[in-house]
């Protein structure tokens, strides 16, 4: 065990110069030490690599789609290849990347540290969740290679129940990926409830932990309905069951109910971790306790619970009864409130803070701007008569990309930068990271702002070809997507470069107050050298600053 004295209690902010060969979670070498590890930090790192690979695969499909749409008519692929491209872009990005991304990668790594625990409640279950993710990914890979999964990521019947066999593989793959998500959820809820260190009562939990907790609740309660939906789809495809296929007496709108009962809470599985990271970064780089801490924490839980009531707003034009349409539209308005509360509280946190514009802070601020656009356009789609016009057009595509890419992915990258030194012990170069941020910010906005106008002018979704009057906007969008792609490439080079040539990072490079900054970076195999006791809150910068003043006075 490392004898890192200062890592307990209040770090004095100077880099840990003394320890040369101190033991940390990366020290054990060899493949076996990685494949059979139960250390939540290693599992987090493995998830991070797996998730970034699937992000790269999904991104390639996105660029293929945008290249196809650069010019009207056939550009680089045929219509059914295009359909496969957008289906796989959707399925890989949603099921393989964005749902496990923050909870399983950053959440696995930092949740136990931020509550002062040695590990998650069920470490072996955590490793099982990673392996189940891999098996699910293999099934999806077989589906991708073996042929035409062209049903859209939503698998709407009766098209999916009559489509080719490859849909069977993809449905089984996602069925298995669902269990990996459930296991992570069970793990996190139990960890937050049972494994908190002494002195860490609920009102002292970091907001990241609140966000992970709310996400885990949704993962546990919503994902099984996806499992039963895909199971029923598989049984219907193989034995002609007739629950969803109208030719056999089924009701395709019932499939949409089953699918969206999971998929709307799933979009909150995607955004809540993003919000959790942004709460951390905003508080850290304004060096203040977040304004309305309890309101931000409770709004995470409110989003998680309200998220189960509103799935019908995906189906306003699907042929639902007018009563159901009315009820769902009304409830959708409720779910917009907690998101608004969070955004206002973040901005109030900036007030009278001492703000430093590091790269993570840039990502957090752009999250607030982009997520606000995503959220506000959600109100267009929640209002009935406007949604009837805008449903299944590019307006919806732009809306959910603003929330998913502008929200979760930007927050994920912000979190990656924020904790990079803690995870890898290396420092990335701020200057180039800001270049990558600029490329991503510009590329993203060019790509998807033009899609808002495309959608409001009536351009339908999932179109292989379009009429000529949409050409200029599609051109802008495609060029924007290239800039966005370039931005991500630059970003990954910056991070990889830091791994190879980055200089060593101290335990608390930005001199922050979060509990994760109290341990060494990279952290000790058991997170803290000794038993962790929380004497102060995770955001008590005023206490931290007083200590620094005393240390400065003494020295």
């Amino acid at each position: 065990m490392s004898t890192h004295a200062e890592s307990i209690g209040l770090a004095d902010g100077t880099a840990a110069d003394g320890a040369v060969h101190e033991e940390n979670y990366l020290s054990a070498k060899g493949i076996a030490s990685w494949l059979t590890t139960v250390d939540h930090k290693r599992i987090g790192i493995m998830y991070l690599i797996a998730v970034l690979l699937s992000f790269f695969a999904g991104g390639v499909f996105a660029l293929l789609i945008r290249t196809e749409l650069l010019f009207p008519g056939q550009t680089i692929m045929t219509a059914d290849q295009y359909n496969q491209a957008f289906t796989l872009h959707g399925a890989i990005m949603v099921f393989l990347f964005i749902i496990p991304s923050i909870p399983a990668a950053l959440g696995n790594f930092f949740l136990p540290i931020m509550i002062g625990a040695k590990d998650v409640a069920f470490p072996r279950l955590n490793l099982a969740s990673l392996y189940i993710w891999c098996i699910g990914a293999v099934f999806s890979l077989v589906a991708i290679i073996s042929g035409s999964v062209d049903t859209g990521w939503t698998f709407y019947t009766p098209y999916s129940s009559r489509a080719s066999g490859a849909v069977l593989w993809m449905a089984m793959g996602i069925f298995i990926l669902g269990f990996s998500s459930i296991l992570t959820g069970v793990n996190f809820v139990t960890t937050v409830h049972k494994m908190r260190a002494k002195g860490l009562h609920w009102s002292r939990l970091p907001l990241f932990v609140w966000g992970m907790y709310a996400t885990a609740v949704i993962q546990v309660l919503a994902t099984p309905v996806l499992a039963i939906t895909l199971l029923l789809l598989l049984v219907e495809k193989t034995t002609g069951l007739g629950i969803f296929d109208p030719a056999l007496g089924g009701d395709p709108v019932l499939f949409q109910h089953f699918f969206w009962f999971y998929s709307h809470p799933a979009v909150y599985i995607m955004i809540l971790p993003g919000m959790a990271i942004v709460s951390e970064i905003i508080a850290a780089f304004s060096r203040r306790k977040p304004f309305g801490y309890t309101y931000i924490a409770l709004s995470s839980v409110a989003i998680a619970l309200l998220g189960f009531l509103v799935w019908g707003h995906h189906m306003f034009t699907a042929g639902m009864s007018e009563y159901a349409v009315m009820v769902f539209s009304g409830l959708t308005m409720l779910v917009a409130i907690p998101s608004g509360v969070k955004v206002f509280n973040w901005i109030a946190t900036l007030y009278k803070g001492s703000i430093t514009l590091t790269t993570p802070m840039l990502y957090a601020l752009s999250f607030i701007a982009l997520f606000s656009i995503g959220g506000l356009t959600g109100i267009f789609l929640g209002t009935l008569s406007v949604d009837i016009f805008l449903h299944d057009t590019y307006f919806v595509v732009a809306h959910f990309h603003y929330v998913m890419v502008g929200g979760t992915v930007i927050a994920f990258i912000g979190g990656l930068h924020y904790w990079w030194s803690k995870m890898t012990g290396k420092v990335y170069s701020e200057r180039y990271a800001k270049v990558a941020w600029a490329l991503i910010f510009v590329g993203f906005n060019v790509t998807f702002l033009s899609q808002f106008v495309l959608g409001s002018r009536g351009m339908a979704r999932r179109y292989f070809d379009y009429l000529d009057h949409f050409h200029t906007l599609h051109g802008f969008s495609s060029i924007g997507s290239y800039i966005l792609g370039l931005g991500f490439v630059v970003l990954f080079f910056v991070l990889l470069h830091s791994l190879v040539k980055g200089e060593k990072a101290g335990p608390n490079p930005w001199n922050l107050a979060g509990y994760e900054w109290l341990t060494t970076s990279p952290p000790d195999a058991h997170n803290f050298a000794t038993e962790f006791v929380a004497e102060r809150g995770p955001y008590d910068y005023h206490l931290l600053d007083e200590n620094i003043d005393e240390a400065a006075a003494k020295a």
Binding site: P246, F291, I347, L350, L384
Partner: protein, 321 residues
């Protein structure tokens, strides 16, 4: 493409203005919120940039502020919900006096049937200024009928009917799209499948519509009259009973060599199968029946004049070979 504003297409139905009004109400509210949020954020970031020696103020909290930015947006959203629902009801419940057009969506084509039975493919001629209700159903997978200029959209579900109504305010051609993903043929090149499933609504004035109902649709360009006749015969199911090769044992009279042939009627008279006889046998098959085919029940067909001429031209061409 004609636009009513930078963001929205032309308003060509009575319902469009209402939707656009609510769209812009929400748009300007969103712009206000967005500018407010980003503006205040920008100002705070600049105003409270970290300066050496200046510490961040300890965070206070104010429940009034929290309650304010929970309740005020809630009230705003409830009002928006109310307007949205009111206008949705007006947009989804068709007036009772509306003209019912049957629509069948199938994989990658739209088929329209007028009340008098006449059918059109991927194109429909409709009167301006009268409420029109589409009663739609799909033959295979989910589709969705979307007319941006009328601001209406409704999924076309197989196994179920769904309805959509509008009242056009201007004559002219209006573009309609399919907006529920419905696949594409394997390996086919060019624009096929879901993105090619377009329909055009010809909005014409009242009399042109009445005249159209008699004359029926014009021949699709690029097809000669006989070829169009052949297509109509195949599409309308005549081939299930009538042969065209003069040899096969089909239950109904063979078309090959039919034109100007002498036929002995059940009434004993022999007549010449000329144009009028063929036209009459299509519209009222039971009027004159050739002896030996008494027990065959042919359903009456509704074709426009142009379509009848095309079928007759096709039969003539078959008879000359």
């Amino acid at each position: 493409m004609e636009l009513s504003t930078y963001q929205l297409p032309a308003q060509l139905s009575t319902y469009a203005a209402e939707v656009d009004w609510l769209y812009y109400v929400i748009f300007w509210i969103s712009v206000a919120f967005f500018v407010g949020i980003v503006g205040v954020m920008g100002y705070f970031v600049v105003r409270y940039r970290s300066k050496p020696g200046v510490r961040a103020k300890k965070t206070g909290h104010s429940n009034t502020l929290e309650v304010a930015w929970t309740v005020l947006p809630l009230i705003l959203l409830i009002v928006l919900f109310h307007w949205g629902f009111q206008s949705y009801v007006r947009g989804s419940v068709a007036p009772s006096s509306s003209l019912d057009i049957r629509v069948r969506g199938a994989q990658w084509l739209w088929e329209f049937r007028h009340p008098n039975g006449m059918e059109e493919l991927n194109e429909v001629t409709l009167p301006v200024g009268t409420p029109i209700r589409f009663i739609m159903s799909s033959g295979d997978v989910l589709h969705s009928f979307f007319v941006p200029d009328f601001r209406v959209k409704q999924d076309v579900v197989p196994g179920r009917y769904s309805t959509l109504w509008f009242e056009a305010t201007k004559t002219g051609k209006v573009q309609a799209y399919c907006t529920e993903y419905c696949g594409a043929p394997e390996g086919a090149t060019g624009n096929v499948g879901h993105s090619a499933m377009l329909a055009t609504l010809n909005i014409v004035d009242e009399e042109t519509y009445e005249k159209f109902l008699e004359k029926g649709p014009a021949a699709p360009e690029g097809l000669s009259e006989a070829e169009w006749g052949k297509e109509l015969v195949e599409k309308s199911g005549c081939r299930t009973c009538h042969g065209v090769d003069g040899a096969s044992q089909m239950p109904a009279p063979n078309f090959k060599g039919l034109y100007m042939r002498e036929e002995k009627m059940t009434s004993g008279k022999t007549i010449v199968a000329d144009e009028n006889y063929i036209r009459e046998s299509i519209l009222q098959p039971q009027a004159k029946i050739v002896s030996g085919y008494e027990n065959l029940l042919m359903p009456p067909y509704k074709f426009g004049e142009a379509q009848l001429d095309a079928i007759i031209a096709y039969i003539k061409e078959l008879s000359q070979e």
